[in-house]
Amino acid sequence: MKLYCLSSDASKPCFVLSFKELLIMLDCGLSAHSVLNFLPLPPVPSTRLASLPNYTPPHVNDPLLEGELKECCGRVFVDSIPEFCPPLDKVVDFSQLDVILISNYTCMMALPFITEDTGFKGQVYATEPTLQIGRFYLEELAEWVSGAGGGTGAAARRWKELLHVLPQPLSLAARPRSWRRLFAPAAVARSLARVRVVGYDEKVDIYGALDATAVSSGFCLGSANWVLRSAREKVAYVSGSSTLTTHPRPINQAALRGADLLILAALTQTPAHNPDHMLGDLCVHAAVTLRAGGCVLCPVYPSGVLYDLLECLSAHLDTAGLQHVPMYVVSPVADSSLAYSNILAEWVSVGKQARVYLPEEPFPHAALARAGRLRHARHLHDDAFSAEFRQPCVVFCGHPSLRFGAAVHLVELWANNPAHAIIFTEPDFPHTEALAPFQPLSMKAFHCPIDTSLNYSQANKLVRELRPRELALPDQYAPPPPHHHQAPRSVPLPHRHVAQLLAGQQAGARAAAARAGAARPVPTVVVRRGAARACGPRRRTARGSLGAALAAHAQAAARTLPAAPAADAQALRLAPLQAALSLRDNRLELLPAPPPPADPAAPPQPGGSGTGALPRLHWGALDVDALVRALAREGITDARVERSAAAPAEGGGTAAADSMSCIVHLPRHDTLVHVERHATHVFCEGRADVRQALRRALAAALPHV
């Protein structure tokens, strides 16, 4: 078993596991941090952004760089269509992948980069909500980026060659040459068409070699952890899990227990912020702003926490006497996302499910929409929408990076008014970075990140409870190497903090375990982007099935080993077995062997044991006296035993060892039997009948099956 890590962003993971001769990709997250280096693409033209001065590094005169960089709010941005950071494509040949398993819709945005124009021939599996909501995310992204018409044709490329002369933070951009533009809508559609939909706890047969099962991870609608099971091994991939109670089905921990290997990814990105407190803060900030006549902007994704925000904020505004304040969701996929969430009865929490049985929609946003408090629109400038737009209001729209989407326009519009507020809830982007091209900002900015994925103490608790044999982590979560001065690493500072946190937790667990005299700490394998690590158990057998007839036959021939030094000799039985192999759909079955060839003079067949009735395995020491008696029974009465001094025993000169080396001489049959401790060599003339008599006699003198 081998694990490759292809992503540098642990919250947008991408691993490849080689397991049972299969190459299995676990998630294909797309890191979008790179877009923060680009200028925002306003959905409607902005004179401010259009009139920014060009930037040229001092002492550099490179005509190719012309127009690629702009200076804005004291920082340098790339003026081009934003680019993203897909998983590494050099480590694993994507055409060789057998399967891609997706854990949730936040971890699949790079799918087209993996499956399109790469020769990919495998299967992709995801739950139905993951596929549908993932589609909304991808469609929204495509529309925001291409619909804005930003950038002037060709992508800016020259700046990537001149990083060393550029100012920070642009000069710190990680491997910008591997950044890619978003795929075309056709590629998205082709890629999503490959996805096969699975339900929770559905065992998916992967080429007959193993079962993959998606089990609820409690993070968002349809989010799953994956359990891979062969006959003997179990691997659990835990990505984007939550032990908190929100709208999705709760995490299924039982299914993850006792894995040989546990791969842990996509923990919280904001470990210092409690999601519940953040939700409370958000409601308070929003109410205060609205009461003062200001508007509230929440840059969000079109699904996920948005549903909780709508539910909690509407309830809070009710109690705050602000029920007249309209809430708007602006996204090309707003209608689909809101409608879709209400038909996922089988994927929501028990409380929400109970509403469906009434029957009422599981989420209150359908009722809010019917009551006119919640409206949605594809674009800000839709005529019907602009006509009914009222202030003060709350607007939920993308993109959380503030580089494209309706949010860009609203920030531009409201930035100078201190009555308005922008509240960041999505954890994917540092909010100061997101706001960098909009400075100076008069509107209030609040940071209330809501990331319900596991925090480090929850993750440690989970690992302790699941008791895996081995744990694999991306290096961001692992303790720093003991000699960090020798290993310069590019791990950003907050991650190092995280790493130590987890290391500390593990040390604590170790101490606790030691105190309790309980299990040892879990052996941990750390994988870095671009690297591969061997992990998991090594296999020596394959699981098959044995038909009843054959089992009964073997049972009859079986021999118990009372003398064997096994722990429980009673339970140990051996029998020689010849069987026909059937391999159908990778399933191994042992069937009764074909009968031996009818013609005894025909040559033996490779692999066959021919007559099959003769002993196949002897062990232990030969009982010479028993051999002589058995030979006599066969009519060979002239056996003469010579203790041989010339054949020294391995054990040295003890009498017992000596007695094991001897020669049995059968003069009338011109045969010598050399007996040693672990071997007997018969030199005989070619008579078959004598040889068979000898074989029977040897069997009587040696334990065998």
Partner: protein, 596 residues
């Protein structure tokens, strides 16, 4: 040989009520727990005393599985759980769990409030019963206990209908409930993978019918309705609130729209809106087309179909009314029937199967007069039409399902004996598998082969693969492994000799035989060895024969040539497990020497 036992307590050679007992691997499973609509006494419930004459039933049944919300499949469930006292697990899909209590309550009202029966379950009992239900999703593998696993497949038929795959150890059964192999206007077709169960228990309502195309039936239906209302007649369509009703509503709605018709269409009972809400919320269980378009237009928001009020019964002029229940055995549909039946211009369309004893069954069999409990006699002058819209698989569909899942045996339930015979014959001829059709209370026993799990050494398998791949391809050649079966702590493994020794800690004792053949063959020894190798290669097809330094080896057999210019000694040596090969080679050399 382990066996699977099936005893129908209902649906054995009849269509009235489904309740089938399945025993395998020490587990007892009840498949459906239906109620017979044609009876008004205790005969409507399955005979639970068959399972246990007295005492608690829970210890006798490991779980109850309900295939769908039709009352002939779930109607007796509250009786079993609340009145008989079954407390074990009950499984059904989410939509079934949501909708079944509504139909149960509806039926309870008819029985208790209209017919005045007292010994019947209460509303509270229905609620308590449903609380005990575990809802499952499609394809979810549910472990009832450590050994019993169940999994639901999409069955079409009605919203939430499922077929169930059930496994104990290496034995497995598929139970279809009611299913439909052709998609209709609101549901998709049943689907199952090649799960190769030991037994397929399938319904056979339409065992002998190959139904004409759906389109023809729909056109026929619309034509008849249209002709009737055009002449000022009233059309009564008795339906169950959920299921076929939605399909026919979609059908009429689109026709009315297309033809721009103005005749009133009503749907009786306040259930309509609620029922349609269930369809909206469980839209993932409907067909592709409805799922794709639901954001823009919900197919279950009807423009032309209005709720019915009882006072409309006596309204003059044409109208179309959907009324419950579907078999005209009680309730509003029966009331309307009584009023409209004596008039020739009216029409009743029965869109589904009617069980014996119901008014629906009587008029479909041509009854011109129907007598009721209070001696009331109703003359039937209205046109009576039967249109099979109930979504069951026909003979073709049943054969198709068998083809899909490749069962080793088939058992027919939920059909009429005569028709079953015909289908049984067909199945046995076409698929060469056994087919059973037990009557109620009769037990069918099906023998199944056992399979034990065994761990096979990769080393053995790799050696076999090398041998196999060395041979010219021949699809008929059997692949053979040879090893030692090791039984340790009840776990089986097939290992090679060295692995066995390692595994159980014994020292192997190797026995080797060496014989000498003298051969007069002038020339260097190496030449002789090459000659021998050529001979062996010719005789031993498929074996890997190597030669180095004049020594030939095949598996553990070593052949060495020594001697002077004229006479050679050929030593042939082999270990005990290669006796066959060794003695064959020795024999070969001996006869070569003799013939030269």
């Amino acid at each position: 040989m382990p066996e699977i036992k099936i005893t129908p307590l209902g649906a054995g050679q009849d269509v009235g009520r489904s309740c089938i007992l399945l025993s395998m691997g020490g587990k007892n499973i009840m498949l459906d727990c239906g109620m017979h609509m044609g009876y008004n006494d205790e005969r409507r419930f399955p005979d639970f005393s068959y399972i246990v004459p007295e005492g608690p039933i829970t210890s006798q049944i490991d779980c109850v599985i309900i295939s769908h919300f039709h009352l002939d499949h779930c109607g007796a469930l509250p009786y079993m759980s609340e009145m008989i006292g079954y407390t074990g697990p009950i499984y059904m899909t989410h939509p079934t769990k949501a909708i079944a209590p509504i139909l149960l309550e509806d039926m309870r009202k008819v029985v208790v409030e209209r017919k005045g029966e007292s010994n019947f379950f209460t509303s509270q009992m229905i609620k308590d019963c449903i609380k005990k239900v575990t809802a499952v999703t499609l394809h979810q593998s549910v472990m009832v206990d450590n050994e019993l696993e169940i999994k639901a497949y999409y069955a079409g038929h009605v919203l939430g209908a499922a077929m169930f795959w059930i496994r104990v150890g290496s034995q497995s059964v598929v139970y279809t409930g009611d299913y439909n192999m052709t998609p209709d206007r609101h549901l998709g077709a049943a689907w199952i993978d090649k799960c190769r169960p030991d037994l397929l228990i399938t319904e056979s309502t339409y065992a002998t019918t190959i139904r004409d195309s759906k389109r023809c039936r729909e056109r026929d239906f619309l034509k008849k309705v249209h002709e009737c209302v055009e002449k000022g007649g009233k059309v009564l369509i008795p339906v169950f609130a959920l299921g076929r009703a939605q399909e026919l509503c979609i059908l009429l709605e689109t026709y009315w729209e297309r033809m721009n018709l103005k005749y009133p269409v009503y749907f009786a009972l306040g259930l309509t809106e609620k029922a349609n809400n269930y369809y909206k919320m469980f839209i993932t269980w409907t067909n592709q087309k409805i799922r794709k378009t639901f954001v823009q237009r919900n197919m279950f928001d009807f423009k032309h179909i209005k709720p019915f009020d009882k006072t409309y019964i006596d309204n003059p002029g044409a109208m179309v009314v959907f009324a419950t229940p579907g078999m005209l055995h009680a309730g509003l549909s029966l009331n309307i029937f009584k009023k409209w039946a004596p008039y020739e211009q009216n029409m009743v369309i029965m869109p589904g199967f009617c069980v014996q004893g119901t008014v629906g069954h009587k008029i479909l069999n041509g009854a011109k007069k129907v007598e009721f409990e209070n001696r009331q006699v109703v003359e039937v002058k209205m046109a009576v039409e039967y249109m099979s819209f109930s979504a069951h698989a026909d003979a073709k569909g049943i054969m198709q399902l068998i083809q899909y899942c490749e069962p080793k045996n088939v058992l027919l339930v939920h059909g009429e004996a005569q028709k079953m015979e015909f289908l049984k014959d067909k199945i046995e001829k076409e698929f060469k598998i056994n087919c059973y059709m037990p009557a109620n209370g009769e037990t069918s026993v099906i023998n199944t082969p056992t399979k034990l799990p065994v761990d096979v050494s990769l080393r053995l398998l790799k050696a076999e693969a090398v041998r196999y791949n060395a041979l010219p391809p021949d699809p008929k050649r059997r692949r053979v492994v040879n090893g030692i079966l090791c039984v340790k702590d009840n776990r089986l493994s097939l290992l090679d000799i060295d692995e066995v020794c390692d595994e159980i800690g014994i020292n192997r004792h190797v026995i080797r035989f060496t014989s000498t053949v003298r051969f007069d063959d002038p020339g260097p020894a190496v030449k002789t060895a090459e000659k021998l190798k050529a001979l062996l290669s010719e005789k031993l097809e498929g074996w890997t024969i190597t030669i180095s330094d004049g020594n030939i080896s095949v598996e553990s057999v070593l052949i060495k040539v020594e001697g002077d210019e004229n006479t050679k000694s050929i030593y042939v040596s082999w270990t005990n497990q290669d006796e066959d090969l060794g003695s064959y080679i020795l024999g070969l050399l001996q006869s070569m020497v003799q013939s030269s």
